[in-house]
């Protein structure tokens, strides 16, 4: 087996100073923040090594990145962990060019004869979540996205545990195939000092990629509309719990606006392809169906859900039609000739605004707009040729999280799984949605489907109550459409308060308990 893992080292965004966010641009030097492997790619790198260990002799693992270079310590860490080769495909201005990156990687994979390619589902720069799909399209390989675990069976078959909208599945696949790793708890293994020292002297192989044609440089800005947090003060957890319960009920009744923004004026014939109910992967039949339907309708605006399946379909459609593509769109202001689209980038710390003319393809983070035509294509019959066996491990959560008018979310600040379970029970009792931050989910405190944020679902409830959530950009991007955000955190300096409407400095578990008692749970 010859395995290629595509990865990217991205700036440590949490170390970028506030003053630099305000003037962020292509020429700004943020090298002081250092770089780290993005979490999805890191998981992919580790999963590939586990496969290599299982496959034994003869299995080769290489790691490749596209860009201007790679810090030596990242390369040495990869060599020490067990990679046979670390490659940089040198390219300038590739940060916001996912199609170019995908195609360069595909060329490399083809030329070197790899039969399995892994990548993280997104990288933390453009956050398009499409590089694995551009890569697969260029190779004309299938893709399985949302992979959490990889194993080899006793007879050498490759099995992936995949989390999708239709639940947690075990899928036996055969190559060649691209696997896009999602919310996996895998981290790159620790290595011994001797192994680490021996990795010194192993060089990065640098190859020149085909030069990019520099298109528009992205216009990036700090997200506007920062909320102004008012801190609540109460005498006791009980009094505070009572106040919060009143607010949760009143705000829901008052119908505070919380939604992704779509302005009127979408072009006639705009179409929404709802690919989610059918499958958590696209096969050629499905792609052909979408393409055929698209060619018949020729919509000015083609919209798909911002899910892995939606992004895959959008990417393949854009590739085969030559249309421009933008994924993860959260705001759209359309006009007669075109549209201004907005999405979060750089691990959701910045906003990218683009102006595009019709026709185009986009994936949309919110509920499908009412004014567009919805097209649901028939589910595929049977498994695709590259998938030989499937097993449902866990049915999907039918929690209606994305449509909930009130949502309660826990972060690691609640301290432990028991506190998280208490909050989940409270949410159930109140009849509200429940979600988790990614770190809380990867601690094993819940299911990945409960993740709210860049790597999970976006929600736009009327009221959002966060408990022990730190307020990272990736999480806050998932709730920016909320009507009112109430944040609870023991640390008054927590980032979450900068993006909340109301703040409560309190011990989250104590508050959850008080709210439970108030409910009579």
């Amino acid at each position: 087996m010859k395995i290629l893992v595509c990865f990217k080292a991205v700036p440590c965004w949490e170390k970028v100073l506030d003053e630099d966010w305000g003037q962020f641009g292509p020429g700004l030097d943020i090298s002081y923040a250092g770089t780290a492997l993005n979490c999805f790619d890191e998981a992919a790198l580790e999963l590939a090594l586990r496969l290599k260990n299982a496959a034994g002799a003869g299995c080769v693992c290489a790691a490749v990145t596209v860009g201007q270079g790679l810090a030596a310590h990242h390369a040495q860490a990869l060599y020490a962990a067990g990679y046979d080769e670390v490659v940089v495909l040198h390219a300038e201005n590739a940060e916001f060019a996912p199609r170019y990156v995908g195609e360069v990687l595909a060329d490399y994979a083809k030329s070197e004869g790899f039969d399995l390619v892994l990548a993280g589902i997104q990288a933390g720069m453009a956050d398009s979540g499409t590089v694995p799909f551009w890569l697969a399209e260029a190779l004309r390989w299938p893709v399985l996205a949302g992979v959490q675990v990889l194993e080899l069976t006793a007879d050498g078959a490759l099995v992936a545990t995949q989390q999708g909208g239709r639940g947690l599945w075990r899928r036996q696949v055969q190559g060649p195939v691209v696997l896009a790793v999602g919310n996996s708890p895998a981290v790159l293994r620790a290595v011994s000092l001797r192994t680490r020292l021996q990795a010194k002297g192993k060089n990065i192989r640098v190859l020149e990629a085909t030069p990019t044609q520099v298109g528009e440089l992205p216009r990036l800005s700090v997200p506007g509309g920062r909320r102004s947090c008012v801190f609540l003060a109460q005498d006791s957890p009980e009094a505070l719990a009572a106040q919060l319960m009143v607010m949760l009920r009143e705000d829901r009744a008052a119908g505070h606006v919380g939604k992704h923004e779509v302005s009127p004026g979408l072009p006639l014939g705009a179409v929404w392809y709802d690919v989610s109910p059918q499958a958590d992967y696209m096969d050629e039949t499905m792609v052909d169906q979408i393409l055929e339907d698209w060619q018949r309708r020729r919509p000015a605006c083609t919209m798909l859900p911002d899910t892995p399946a939606g992004r895959e379909a959008a990417t393949r459609l854009a590739a085969r039609t030559g249309l421009p593509l933008m994924t993860g769109v959260t705001q759209m202001v359309s006009g007669q000739w075109g549209v201004q689209l907005q999405k979060r980038v750089c691990s959701s710390n910045l906003v990218w605004r683009r102006e595009l003319t019709w026709p185009l393809v986009l994936t949309w983070g919110g509920a499908p707009p009412q004014e567009v035509e919805h097209v649901t294509l028939p589910a595929p019959a049977g498994l695709p040729v590259w998938m030989t066996k499937v097993e449902l491990l866990e049915a999907p959560l039918e929690d209606g999280l994305q449509n909930a008018r009130v949502v309660l979310a826990c972060g690691v600040g609640v301290g432990c799984r028991a506190a998280c379970d208490m909050a989940r029970a409270l949410a159930w009792q109140l009849g509200v949605g429940f979600g988790l931050s990614r770190p809380a989910a990867l601690n094993g405190w819940g299911r990945p489907e409960e993740i709210i944020g860049q790597s999970g679902v976006s929600v736009a409830p009327d009221v959002m109550l966060t408990l022990g959530v730190s307020g990272s950009g990736a999480f806050m991007a998932g709730i920016e459409g909320a009507g009112r955000i109430i944040a609870v955190n023991i640390d008054r300096q927590a980032l979450v308060f900068k993006n909340a409407d109301m703040g409560v400095v309190a011990d989250a578990p104590a508050l959850i308990k008080a709210m439970e008692e108030h409910c009579g749970v």
Partner: protein, 485 residues
Amino acid sequence: MEYEAVHPRYGSWMRDESGLEGNAQGVLLPRSIDELAGMMANAAREGRSLTVQGARTGLCGGAVPDGGLVLCLMQLDGMRLSDAFGEETLVAQAGASMQAIAALAQKSGHFFPAAPTEPSATIGGVYATGASGLYSLRYGAAARYVRALRWVTPQGAVWDIPRGKYIFDEKGCPLPNSSMLSGRALYADTRLPRSPVSAGIPRPGMDLIDLLVGSEGHLGVAAQLELELLLLPRALWGVVFFFEKDEALLRYTEWLSGWHGRQGAETLRCAEVFDEGALRLLAGSEAQSGLIKGLGGFPQGAHVALYVELDGGEEDALEVQLAELLDGFAQVGGNEADTWAESGETGVARLRALRHAVTELARPGAGAVRMETDYIGPAEKHGEYWRMYKQGLNDSGLRGVVYGHVLQNHMQVELLPRDAEQAMVAKELMCRWAAQVVRDGGQLAGGHGLGCLKRALATKFMPDVCKEHFAGLKSQLDPQGVMGL
């Protein structure tokens, strides 16, 4: 005087990480040094006592008020880089967090070397407790890097104290208000017993900045500090060594101590032990076990561990030293597979996080007060002290965790009594250990301060002449006695 109301039982200003809960009439939140000075002057006029707070990350209750008003400096968080002295310095107000200071310093390719493991701690708190941070082995205590101080007296006067201007001699120390800080010349008479608390004890040639450090808000407020920064090292490594037995660990730390003295002084920046209790806490923690499992899990049979960091200008030179450390490890029977190693800041941060996690995890249960030691014994006796701590825990049947700066013999012991009876046993044990530290000429407050929890113990062991000295210092700088206890 106006102040913000406090909400009893729910106001986070009434607590810190010690677990103690206090009470106050209100909270003052100055937004500028002028405002701070005005508030302190008003408090002095009205005779209201003040408890100074930063981020409330202290472990000894120093920020927990007992009546009076809380003076919270969190809004004094301004920072800027300066090159007034021709070298990069960072001017930070008291409420600036160590994390923010690190980020700003890093932007100019520098770092502040004396930061504690808790990133949300404030520089004001670090100065007030005399903290030394994770890298004290290499870089010493934070005060060493304070170039200038803007100090607000209990009467509300603002003093600018540049290093080198106000120096102790046999008469005392001149002060910025043209008066003289006199004190018994303790240092002149070597027959006098040593104080078990070094903060506030003058020495010949001592700078006023170094006298005021560790005063925990009892003599005034360090409102702004100008900090010397160091260039970020080009090479950085972190290594964890796992041992199956305590004795192997101690043989290695003895070896490491010798190595450090011969050739490691310029590169070894910390050596932190974790006893089996610490490793058990890490493995059992829901937040940490995922990372540890991800890393591959602790090696089979790992009982105790040692974490070291090395930094330097040249990667090659560091790697030679790392190979030496590995040889030393093999000499004490260590298996080189029982190590974890990372290089570069982001990689090393993964291992370093385990060290901080122990402090977070070794908390007493809800409602209980922290019982921890912060003693510094003679460095050459670190092995003896390790055995003393472990034996004490074993004999008393108390749960506890021993970890921290081993080569300086500045290990932290967290005692985790299950009930009131065990808490009494823990208190006696801490006292017994303190007596040994004092007999050995050590220190009872290595960098956490005394706070409320340790003052009585320190006073018990303090010679009368030292008590007189501290009382004299207090009466000169805070004659109305409004600051702290």
